[in-house]
């Protein structure tokens, strides 16, 4: 399983192959014009994401890794920020699919549940419901999109020593 976050991103979004097949191509094209991912939207200097895209990624990471009872939350380990930095290194061609995926994610209550809501404005339990819908969807694009985001988020988080105490992992024998 892919565990180097930058490579998960490159393999998933740099090749631009798996998401661009079948329904994936249509959904990505749709994502590229949805609010939250429009090409003209203002982005931070040098960063691949606009503020709204950053919010979407943070919201997904926060539900994937909410933390609690001794486990730091994704935001405490800056999981979304780490993913963004890795994407920046990969360059604009590798990030466009990721940005489109975020936009589709943001609008998935509307696209897949006919609910006129955005992901980031849902209550946490409703956000979980949306994510679960991606994980178990009959549409291969959504299952693959979920797996790609989950892999990079989980591997970013659990490669950090700060995550180990909560699961009782004592860490390597060799000192860093």
């Amino acid at each position: 399983m892919a565990v180097s976050p930058d490579v998960v991103l490159r393999e998933s979004f740099g090749r631009r192959e798996f998401l661009r097949r079948g329904a994936g191509a249509l959904l990505l094209a749709l994502g590229s014009v949805l609010p939250g991912c429009r090409a003209g939207e203002v982005r931070d200097e040098g960063g691949p994401f606009s503020d709204s895209e950053r919010q979407i990624l943070r919201a997904i990471c926060n539900r994937l890794l909410p933390g609690g009872a001794g486990a730091p939350a994704a935001i405490e380990l800056d999981v979304a920020g780490t993913i963004e930095r890795l994407l920046r290194e990969l360059g604009p061609h590798a990030t466009s699919d990721f940005r489109s995926l975020l936009a589709v994610f943001e609008w998935s209550p509307l696209l897949f549940q006919a609910k006129p809501r955005r992901f980031t404005r849902l209550a946490p339990q409703d956000q979980d419901q949306v994510i679960r819908g991606w994980a178990t969807s009959r549409i291969g694009f959504r299952r693959t999109g979920f797996v790609a985001i989950k892999r990079v988020a989980m591997s970013t988080y659990y490669a950090q020593e700060a995550s180990w105490a909560a699961i009782g992992f004592p860490g390597p024998w060799l000192l860093s």
Partner: protein, 516 residues
């Protein structure tokens, strides 16, 4: 650390380098390292080319964040086109033998019998291969894993099998005085893992072989229809990008770049494919894992990661190929990325990390996959589970669960995105309902093979029974792509044995004494 004087320092080269040798060996893993050593020890001038770096024990820091990047092909992210199966391969001097779990099986006789009968490879009998098996095992220092070395995770597999009356055992392995740290898949920092960079490669270097690291072969050279050598890029260590170029003139070439990149190289060069079979027939040995919770601490990350197996289902009741069950465990980042679900449910399972035991079913699959060329000539792997493979995965997961419950598990979970948790043996039948659509369940492969298969008939396979191209004389293949079919067991000994036999034939051709 000072490297052997025959390791050519490519870190400073610029422009076009021109080298010559009697034999060029492409890839320094299980196949290439054996070729290099067995040929160099006969006095043949061998150049061994490796795309990855030459890491030594002091480079291995037991950190997932660092070692997957440095030791694995595509930094452990190589996958099928749809990302549904992660295909793990090493990319360093020593290849996958540096990051495998040291499992040593001889090729099953039933597999050799099939290769003889269906592929016209009559000479590949267990008897004829025995001296080569013995030579390989002696060089690696293969010994049985003793009971005291079996950790709690693998002991669970043995206990469950004993209670069910299933056939099971412990592996033989190529470790020496293992300290049991459990980090084999990140490279052994204690020099106990007897990968080929610890034995075959140093002996090849001692015999005069030159090793060129960070050299990626992209072109197979021919002149007037004859093989003339290879050419490619010298990669920058930091960026991985080409920094210089090389040509290596050699009248005989051994390809050992693995079952993904060897066929890709042939396709890229439009060579040796009169059969049309290069890149076809790829088998992956899909691995379907499950984990079980026990009330007591298991700490599966400590000790030899894989020491026990169950071969009760190696052949099924109807005589068809089946699967082997093997104990397994994963370090936190790897485990978290495949652990089912997300959020609090995911965290809850992660909190059980020290109480978990792992096992996978390794499926002996049909050659359903292909290797083709994608953007920039990069290999693309396509593989879709057939109904037979899906059936074997369901059956393998059911038998894994039966073994776990027999050993006292309180629950068993598969690696579906949406968790399927079994709380007793009466729920095992639920696994029969798995649809196994792509990306519903995390699947792995560590054994790509059979993508450039041996066949006596040039119309049905690109290479003959010694791994030589039917179309291009003196072009050999010495990795798992040469297997006619999947072998159904961990393949390193089969690769090395066939490479030894091939090296003996090459020695004869070049006027040197054969190996045996």
């Amino acid at each position: 650390m000072r490297l052997h004087p025959n390791v050519v320092d490519t870190s400073e080269v610029r422009g076009l380098m021109r080298w010559e040798a009697e034999v060029a060996v492409v890839g320094s893993g299980a196949g290439g390292a054996v070729s290099a050593k067995e040929l160099a020890e006969a006095g043949i001038d061998v150049a061994l080319l490796e795309e990855g770096g030459y890491l030594r024990y002091s480079d291995f820091n037991q950190r997932e964040r660092d070692m997957y990047r440095r030791l694995y092909r595509d930094q452990a992210a190589q996958a099928t086109r749809d990302l549904s199966i992660n295909v793990l391969q090493g990319r360093a001097v020593g290849g996958s033998t540096v990051i495998n779990n040291c499992i040593c099986f001889r090729t099953p006789e039933r597999v050799l019998t099939r290769w003889q009968a269906e592929f016209g490879l009559e000479a590949l009998s267990a008897d004829s291969l025995r001296p080569y098996f013995e030579r390989v095992e002696a060089t690696l220092g293969v010994v049985p894993i003793v009971s005291a070395e079996v950790n709690e995770n693998n002991r669970i597999l043995l206990e469950g099998c004993e209670r069910l009356g299933y056939r099971a055992g412990t592996f033989s392995h190529n470790r020496k005085d293992c300290v049991g740290c459990g980090y084999c898949m990140l490279g052994c920092p204690y020099e106990r893992h007897q990968s080929v960079d610890m034995n075959y490669v140093p002996r090849a270097l001692d015999a005069g072989c030159r090793l060129f690291t960070r050299c990626r072969v992209e072109e197979i050279l021919t002149e007037g229809g004859r093989l003339a050598g290879v050419a490619g890029s010298v990669l920058d260590e930091g960026s991985g990008q080409p920094r210089a170029w090389f040509t290596l003139r050699a009248p005989l070439v051994v390809l050992a770049a693995g079952a993904i990149h060897t066929p890709a190289l042939l396709l890229l060069n439009r060579l040796a494919n009169g059969s049309g079979q290069v890149g076809r027939g790829l088998a992956l040995h899909p691995l379907a894992a499950s984990f079980a919770r026990f009330d007591r601490l298991i700490d599966g990350f400590v000790g030899i990661p894989q020491s026990a197996y169950c071969n009760q289902f190696e052949t099924l009741e109807d005589g068809s190929d089946g699967f082997i069950l093997e104990g397994i465990f994963a370090l936190p980042a790897l485990f978290a990325s495949i652990c089912p679900s997300f959020g609090e449910e995911h965290l809850s399972m992660m909190r059980d990390y020290r109480h978990l035991s792992g096992m996978y079913a390794m499926i002996q699959d049909d050659g359903r996959g292909t290797v083709s060329l994608g953007e920039g000539g990069r290999p693309v792997i396509d593989y879709h589970l057939g109904e037979r493979e899906r059936h074997l995965i369901r059956r393998g997961l059911q038998e894994s669960a039966r073994i776990f419950f027999a050993a006292g598990a309180t629950l068993v979970t598969t690696l579906l995105s949406q968790p399927l948790v079994l709380r007793g043996r009466e729920e095992i039948a639920r696994l029969e309902e798995l649809s196994l659509r792509p990306n519903e369940m995390a699947l792995f492969s560590a054994h790509p093979q059979a993508s450039c298969r041996m066949h006596a008939d040039p119309r049905q396979g690109p290479i003959d029974g010694y791994g030589e191209s039917h179309d291009v004389p003196n072009l050999f293949v010495a990795d798992a792509s040469a297997f006619p079919t999947s072998v159904g067991i961990n393949p390193q000994i089969t690769i090395m044995t066939l490479a030894s036999r091939q090296a003996s034939a090459i020695r004869r051709r070049l006027g040197r004494p054969p190996l045996l």
